[in-house]
Symmetry: C2
Subunit: 202 residues, 2 copies
């Protein structure tokens, strides 16, 4: 019996999101170390991260702490974005999502202006910025990094590990398997156990 290789694409949230990284470690550096230990053993898994996501991750970790072995086990690979095809209907989805958000943004701006009768301008602006960013960014895909993760996972037919609700929603649209970071350790541990029983095949 052969064990087929499973590919896994990692978002930064596995290492840096305080809500979820506890499964791998308390600090990003600790999480990276524990990931490396798991990856070393998990012969039936291949781990990938787009360079844009890796770059984001480096905001949380000192790049000098990244060992050669880590680079060996976490493959940095951009998606072939000019070759991958996606169904045209996704353009509608993206546009409708944006349209809703844009309308929400305008409501927030209007409330901001109306609020000047009661509160200080600087206070309102601070508050408005927060609300506006939340309304227009959260829960949607809104960056190159997001699209990199989705297209790479789609291209490699990989499992996407992410805590980002916008990415999960789009993984569903694109037919991409996804898993929350909370279950990452359990998943990898099971893979290690299985590949220990059986010979891994490349």
């Amino acid at each position: 019996m052969t064990v087929s290789i499973r590919r896994v694409v990692l978002d930064t949230s596995l290492f840096v999101n305080p809500d979820v990284r506890f499964s791998l470690g308390v600090t990003p550096t600790e999480a990276l170390g524990n990931f490396l230990e798991l990856a070393r053993e998990a012969k039936m898994l291949e781990f990938y991260m787009p360079p844009s996501t890796f770059h984001e991750l480096m905001n949380f970790v000192n790049e000098k702490q990244i060992s050669g072995e880590f680079l060996l086990h976490l493959r940095q690979r951009p998606p072939r974005k000019h070759e991958i095809l996606v169904p045209g209907y996704l353009l509608y989805e993206l546009i409708e999502e944006t349209r809703d958000r844009v309308n929400k943004g305008l409501r927030i701006a209007e409330n901001g202006v109306r609020g000047t009768e009661k509160r200080k301008i600087d206070e309102i602006i601070q508050d408005m910025r927060k609300k506006y960013r939340e309304a227009l960014r959260e829960g949607i895909i809104d960056s190159r990094e997001d699209v990199d993760l989705l297209l790479l996972a789609r291209e490699l037919d990989a499992l996407l590990i992410t805590a980002d609700q916008g990415l999960v929603k789009w993984a569903e649209k694109l037919g991409i398997a996804w898993l929350l970071p909370e279950r990452f350790r359990d998943f990898v541990t099971a893979a290690i156990e299985q590949s220990g029983d059986q010979p891994a095949v490349d």
Copy 2:
């Protein structure tokens, strides 16, 4: 020698945009009438419009004025949006465009709040709405109708007639031939002359 059929997808701007419709008629109704005369003669051209765009057009024309012959010559056809594939890199383009606009929207909102020191709130809100909509909508594709036009033209390998700068920009990205409505009459007239010389083939 055979003349091959050329497909043409029409945006509403051909009939309703005051800047461009003069080539077909002063009122939308007149433009529709002149279009019909041309379409009747242009045996080598097939004209298409997505139903969503047709629906928009009906805001400018009394639907009762639409003859059966008009329905025969202007084919209402939605794109096969679940079958057409587009390169994944377009998702990046759409997201980056939106991101820039969203940032502009926030600047406008901030200026709105700051303006309350000098002007009346109702005035500012009116002004802000206009600026906001302009910043977030103009020059980009922002509606289902826009995507319908693009995907239909792409699917049919058709010439897209539009005055909309956002559509022109996206036609370029998608490899869609486009023509401004100003030149529509000249184009159709040339097609009529050519098909008069040679036998049309279906």
